[in-house]
């Protein structure tokens, strides 16, 4: 009672479940990447297939950004857990840490884009002399500085992810409660500065990789908008991971209780509303003021079939989940909440698609490469995630706060 070592669970991923998931992940990666690269390379031969080449990079960017936000979400959750000294989320901590460990993999996926950088980012071949608006921002928006920033961001996130996971896993071997809490103190000490660095890096990352797709457009809210979507996707991923782990008896439902599950659902609900608040405010202020240099971005997305996607996002990213997960019964029902979590991940993808793809297609145009790149990058992401899941215990077993987390239920 109250002793840190009452937790006797092994919390290891069972071999059979791991094998099955790894096979699926590998199959996805091979088929997805094979088809995507095949399509992309076909485009190099020119002619009618040239379009495939362009399409490949845009689809890749969408898939890459989607899975990067899942990793970044994991990093955010890890830092936040220590920053606010939460105890209820101790059981979820390791899953988030594992998600964050995929940052280097995502950096590798970013490298693929470098080959088609000019195809995606039109500002790489704007002549500043002919475009006075671009001339102003050219010192910021140039390939050299962009690359430096990208390297710095990914390096920063990778270092943070490694730091938190390394200390977290080292804690698993702690012999006494005191030596275990020393790790908590260590991680808590770094949390505030990490959060500051995370906030700024995510903001400029989203400016660079998404906002600059339209180099004339700007919005001070954009970083917050990407952040909000990231957090919704994170909670959806956590919920699905918890479901998968408990179903395969990797972690018992006495550890990841229905209470923890319920609260992850509450936070997903909260951040869905937050995302709506941010997204609506951004749209609404631009619509109301009606200044041409800002409205272009939305005008572009209000025609050519894109308006239907916008409507889908309004309904699917807000109205549906709002009325569904508001209910306590839904949040405490593993199947229902899992369903909504899956849906929110899909909507997060649609949301990013709505930001990225209209740059390439003035008319809504779904492409098979969108699917294959998603499956391919997703397979890679899943393989990385499973690798880290298999390596160590799935729960921070020696964390003195775990007892507070396992007995946790808020009705």
């Amino acid at each position: 009672m109250g002793h840190a070592n009452t937790f006797n669970e092994d919390a290891k991923l069972p071999e059979a479940a791991a094998k099955r998931a790894q096979t699926i992940a590998l199959a996805c990666a091979v088929v997805g990447l094979g088809a995507s690269f095949g399509g992309g390379l076909l485009g190099l031969f020119g002619g009618d297939a040239k379009e495939l080449h362009h399409q490949f990079y845009f689809s890749w960017l969408t898939a890459f950004f989607f899975f990067t936000t899942l990793s970044l979400g994991g990093l955010f959750f890890t830092i936040l857990h220590h920053l606010v000294r939460a105890s209820w989320s101790t059981g979820l901590r390791r899953i988030a840490e594992n998600l964050a460990m995929n940052i280097p993999l995502m950096a590798a996926c970013a490298l693929v884009l470098s080959m088609g950088f000019g195809d995606v980012y039109h500002w790489t071949h704007i002549d500043p002399a002919k475009d006075p608006i671009f001339a102003v921002k050219e010192p910021y928006l140039n390939v050299g500085f962009f690359t430096i920033r990208a390297v710095v961001f990914f390096a920063l996130w990778a270092v943070l992810a490694f730091f938190f996971r390394k200390n977290s896993v080292a804690q698993d071997g702690a012999q006494s409660a005191e030596s275990a809490s020393a790790f908590n103190f260590k991680m808590r000490r770094l949390a505030p500065l990490s959060m500051l660095a995370f906030a700024l890096s995510l903001t400029f990352f989203s400016f660079d990789w998404l906002m600059s797709l339209d180099p004339h457009w700007f919005s001070t809210m954009f970083g917050v908008y990407v952040f909000a979507g990231t957090v919704v996707a994170l909670f959806a991923t956590l919920i699905l991971s918890v479901l998968w782990l408990t179903r395969n008896n990797a972690v018992s439902t006495d550890t990841l209780t229905i209470g923890v599950f319920h609260d992850a659902g509450k936070l997903m609900f909260g951040f869905t509303v937050f995302w709506t608040y941010i997204t609506f405010s951004q749209y609404y202020l631009i619509w109301y003021a009606n200044i041409p240099e800002e409205t272009g971005w939305f005008m572009h997305r209000a025609q050519g079939g894109w308006e239907h996607v916008g409507l889908l996002i309004a309904v699917g990213h807000f109205i549906l989940p709002f009325w569904t997960i508001m209910s306590r019964h839904v949040k405490r029902n593993r199947f229902m909440l899992g369903l909504v979590a899956g849906w929110m991940l899909f909507m997060h993808f649609v949301d990013l698609y709505f930001v990225i793809m209209p740059t390439h297609h003035h008319h809504l145009h779904l492409h098979w490469l969108d699917l294959t790149t998603f499956v391919g990058v997703g397979g890679v992401f899943l393989m990385g995630f499973l690798f880290w899941c298999k390596r160590d215990a799935l729960v921070a077993r020696k964390d003195p706060q775990l007892t507070a987390s396992t007995g946790y239920d808020n009705v």
Binding site: M1, R85, F207, M221, L285, A404
Partner: protein
């Protein structure tokens, strides 16, 4: 639990919510004692000072009604002066109360119980002060009711597309819900005061407002449900009110006003200033009324952390505004921000940045966060800084698109007496509240005591209480 880390200076678990050796009875005694003690001279003096300052407010308003808004420093490009600055300032102050009472309640942050009552009172009084300013700014006050969409024979309506009208709805809804929330929370405590009342007047007045509360099981069940619902209703209000206030500026086409980050930036700023005001009030009153066991250093430290977080968020918004003003390549945006920082009002910008962004940085240090003097001084700095933030934003008007109409705005003595007077109104209400109502929520504080845990093992085992944050989860 105490055996997990007995040698650590700092436990992994937070300290208890209530300091000292308290039981249920001593809590009632300590909090009700403030109300029941006979009037003391210091309190009367404080009320006298606040009342005098408040009288200055009413005198200024009286003269304003007689003479018109010409007595203020308004000029042609700056049609909005201190009145809007003060309005936004006071509305912002209120936000901490709602955040503490509603949002922290939903997040199960039990430390809030010690401070929610008077933070909510602060909210209500701040909103009253806020509502004064748009009301008297209309010029023809006898037509102030035109702000409301009342059917009339002239078929004349307010502009439904104007955020100024939404403000009327947002702020009045906010006031109504805050008042209800505060009152519902007060009911059990009012009943306690009723039951302890010595005089007939006290018995009847507390009895009237305690709505026949007897502490029955059914009463508590209904109470908890109502409280939960009101918390859920008040939570969106924390965001919506200051969002609408930010719309007053952001829906325009003015550089420096029209920027998409305004809504969350205003909300963060409001919470920032509100927590500063809570601390400005809490630090002296916990000492004067002997509430140190309830509003502990832990509470002060937590609030200082929120000040650091929200101050940093506000700093983030300033940085985004500046970066995007440059990145947009719009010369007007660029000018508005350069003019803010280096134009005639550079001193206001400097005051804003130093008070709002630099001063909270001291709270990175635990020593500073737990030092009452530092906390009190910094909380005043934040209050000043947040007033200047609204001043800086409003003064964007002074150089508009037409350089020939540029002008410099300076307040008159009546601007100042009205603003200063609003503090008189605020403190008069607050001082009255401290004396006549329980400043700390008695029943809620009891609920977070280790004794309230059904598994509590009695006074002999009181050392288990150290980790009361988690005790109820571990006791089985």
């Amino acid at each position: 639990m105490s055996d997990t880390s007995p040698h650590n200076k700092e436990s992994i678990f937070p300290p208890p919510f209530v300091a000292g050796k308290h039981d249920f009875h001593s809590i009632t005694e300590a909090i009700c004692g403030v109300v029941e003690k006979p009037l003391n001279i210091n309190w009367i003096l404080a009320l006298g000072v606040a009342g005098t300052v408040m009288a200055m407010l009413f005198a200024s308003i009286g003269y304003l009604f007689w003479e018109g808004t010409g007595i203020w420093g308004l000029n042609n490009p700056v049609g909005w002066g201190w009145a809007i600055v003060n309005f936004v300032f006071w509305v912002g102050i209120g936000h901490a109360g709602t955040l503490i009472s509603a949002v922290l309640f939903l997040f199960r942050q039990k430390w809030r119980t010690a401070i929610n009552r008077f933070a909510e009172a602060m909210t209500i009084f701040a909103v009253i002060c806020a509502l004064v300013f748009p009301g008297i700014h209309v010029g023809r006050v006898w037509a102030a009711y035109w702000m409301l969409p009342i059917p009339n024979q002239m078929a004349m309506w307010p502009n439904f597309r104007s955020p100024l009208l939404w403000d009327v709805f947002a702020v009045s809804t906010y006031f109504t819900v805050s008042l209800l929330f505060w009152y519902v929370g007060l009911v059990p405590d009012l009943a306690t005061l009723r039951d302890r009342a010595k005089s007939k007047l006290a018995f009847w007045s507390y009895g009237l407002f305690s709505l026949g509360w007897r502490g029955a099981n059914r009463h508590w069940q209904n109470y908890e449900r109502a409280y939960m619902l009101l918390a859920a209703l008040a939570t969106p209000l924390v965001l919506s009110v200051h969002t609408i206030v930010s719309f007053d500026f952001a829906v325009s086409v003015l550089p420096g006003w029209h920027t998409t980050i305004f809504p969350p930036y205003f909300v963060a700023g409001a919470i920032f200033s509100g927590f500063a005001m809570v601390l400005t009030l809490a630090v002296p009153s916990r000492k004067l009324f002997g509430l140190e066991d309830f509003i502990t250093i832990r509470h002060i430290e937590n609030m200082n952390k929120i000040i650091l977080v929200t101050g940093t968020l506000v700093g983030y918004a300033y940085a985004m505004e500046f970066f995007i003003a440059w990145y947009s390549g719009s010369p007007y945006e660029g000018f508005a921000f350069i003019n803010r920082a280096f134009g005639p009002y550079w001193w206001a910008y400097l005051a804003m940045v130093s008070c709002n962004v630099i001063s909270p940085q001291f709270f990175w240090s635990k020593k500073m966060r737990t030092n009452l003097t530092v906390t009190f001084i910094l909380s005043i700095f934040v209050n000043i800084g947040m007033w200047f933030e609204r001043f800086v934003i409003t003064m964007t008007l002074h150089r508009d698109f037409l350089p020939s109409s540029w002008d410099y705005y300076a307040p008159t003595v009546y601007d100042m007496s009205t603003f200063l007077g609003s503090f008189g109104l605020f403190f008069t209400l607050f001082i009255l509240f401290l004396k006549f109502l329980p400043a700390v929520a008695i029943s809620e504080v009891k609920g977070v005591m280790p004794q309230a845990d059904p598994h509590w093992e009695g006074y002999a085992h009181a050392h288990h209480a150290v980790s009361n944050a988690v005790s109820n989860k571990e006791a089985h």
